[in-house]
Amino acid sequence: MSRRTPLLRRIVTTDLPVALIVCFAIGPYLWMVLTSLTPDKRLAAIGVALAPVDWVIENYERLFSRTTFIENLGNSLIVASGTVVVGLALSITAAYAFSRFRFRGRRFLMLQFLVINMFPIVLLILPLFVMMRRLGLLDTHAALIIANATIAIPFSVWMLTSYMNGIPTELDEAAMTDGCSRTGALWRIVLPLCWPGMVATGIYIFITAWNEYLYALTLGGRKVRTMTVALQTLIGEYQIEWGLLTAGGVVGALPVTILFLVVQRRLVSGLTAGAVKG
């Protein structure tokens, strides 16, 4: 009896409230999955099919055979991967400089990268459109990669700086005593050690670029239409085919959900390191 009371108490004060919050968090997602498995006719007449016997995959078949969704996923993949490459490549050396050197203007430059992240996207979207039009880059992958890089570069500089700060400077110094140059120390010592941090940062950039919508809508077009824009165009003029739409939502969300679950612990530690200490 004395053992059951604390258990019961724990269930009432902890497990039940947590279960409620978890339901709130994943309920809409599960509802989308259920809707995507319901045949269209049934959806209009009776509603979402809750029992597995009524589930069909016809919405997914239609999605892949009748729409250009595969192509759109491909575009999203190109844009997101391109953004990862650009974002990481440009920020590795910058993060190394912030982490290992004390120089004039360091604070100002670091602040600059922080402030960029706070600029309203709506402030940049119009001039970027004008710029891409002038350069003839509208409706290309390059335009979307450049636009996404405005978010990815500052983010990546901050994350990589924080990861590199975690690698003792004695290691670089030891390498340089052994005859390595400064940049040699970066490539041979620091990069291999902050590899996990780079993977986490890269995955987060990938997720952000994959999920991005406004730039893709404004700077993309018929040739380069990403998954997010394509989903919105699936909405018909007069009625919405919810079965088809939710099937697209499930497929579009799947890669990022999996990546996020893989990377969340490392990402959280990187993101919160500054916030908690500072």
């Binding site: 910058a94 739409l245 916030a275």
Partner: protein
């Protein structure tokens, strides 16, 4: 010191130059151009009509009824969404900080709303709110709260609040994760000391937990404030600003002005004004937050 070696003084600048030069060209030049555009009459389909008009666009905005409606909605939007996200995030973090067998699973699942693309979030909730077949109406009618289905997103009185709920759903995991990290950084000795002093649960929360996570709350609050203020994709997909102007916020108004009216001059002016207001708001927030942290 090795960095005193020959050439060492310029090395950090060389290392920084790729990132700095690129951001200069893709962020700071466009930003300056936004300010430049805002001083001009510029309809993008009439390239010849590019004319300098000084502050005319800004003056027009101040007399524009939609501008004030949008500004008011932006205030409501931030004022409801950020506290709601923070409160729900705080409760979630406090619960997830306790020990129970499925804690790892719960932590992973709670984060999911944060990972989803905004477009999918918006469509998902549109479906939930749907007037004909939406599950929300279905549930509310069944338990007797509503007599008949209610058009949540088509009614001017409920549209903005409905989107606030969606954004609360999308944003609370961020707070939960940040606050959880803050909670874990509070040394358990503080709680033990409070226990010895005979502090009640509420007193412990008030005098140990809250001061311990105050820094995180301020930082996370600021990040979310900026993010929520800027976030227009969810509104754009859910209602497109409608019905009427019921869900217009300032950045959305700027975006729609440029996108549908193709009025880049006025759109840029709205965007610039929004940025200035947001900047002022951030400074105010930091002052207030800084003061309350010291107190």
């Amino acid at each position: 010191m090795t960095r005193r070696r020959k050439g060492g003084a310029t090395l950090p600048y060389w290392l920084l130059s790729p990132a700095v030069v690129v951001t200069l060209f893709i962020v700071f030049v466009p930003m300056a151009e936004a300010v430049f555009l805002s001083l001009h009459d510029y309809l993008i389909w009439k390239p010849t009509s590019f004319a300098f008009v000084g502050l005319k666009n800004f003056i027009t905005a101040l007399g524009d009824e939609v501008f004030w409606i949008s500004a008011w909605h932006t205030l409501i939007w931030i004022g409801l969404t950020v506290p709601a996200q923070m409160l729900l995030g705080l409760v979630t973090a406090l619960l997830l900080n306790r020990t129970f067998p499925w804690r790892g699973l719960a932590r992973a699942l709670v984060i999911i709303p944060w990972a989803l693309p905004s477009v999918i979030t918006a469509l998902m909730w549109r479906w939930i709110y749907d007037a004909n077949n939406g599950v929300l109406n279905d549930i509310l009618v069944r338990i007797g709260v509503l007599q008949s289905a209610f058009p949540w997103l088509a009614d001017p009185d409920s549209a903005l609040l409905s989107i606030v709920l969606t954004l609360t759903w999308q944003g609370f995991p961020f707070f939960a994760v940040m606050i959880l990290a803050g909670l874990q950084a509070i040394p358990s000795s503080h709680y033990e000391a409070a226990d010895i002093d005979g502090a009640t649960t509420w007193q412990q929360f008030r005098h140990v937990t809250l001061p311990g996570i105050a820094g995180v709350l301020v930082t996370a609050g600021l990040l979310r404030l900026i993010w929520v203020a800027n976030s227009i994709d969810v509104i754009f997909v859910m209602t497109g600003g409608g019905p009427g102007y019921a869900t217009y916020t300032l950045p959305l108004y700027a975006f729609i002005e440029a996108r549908t009216s193709l009025n880049f001059g006025y759109g840029s002016a709205l965007a610039v004004m929004f940025t200035i207001i947001l900047g002022a708001f951030i400074v105010f927030y930091l002052r207030r937050a800084g003061r309350s942290l010291e107190a």
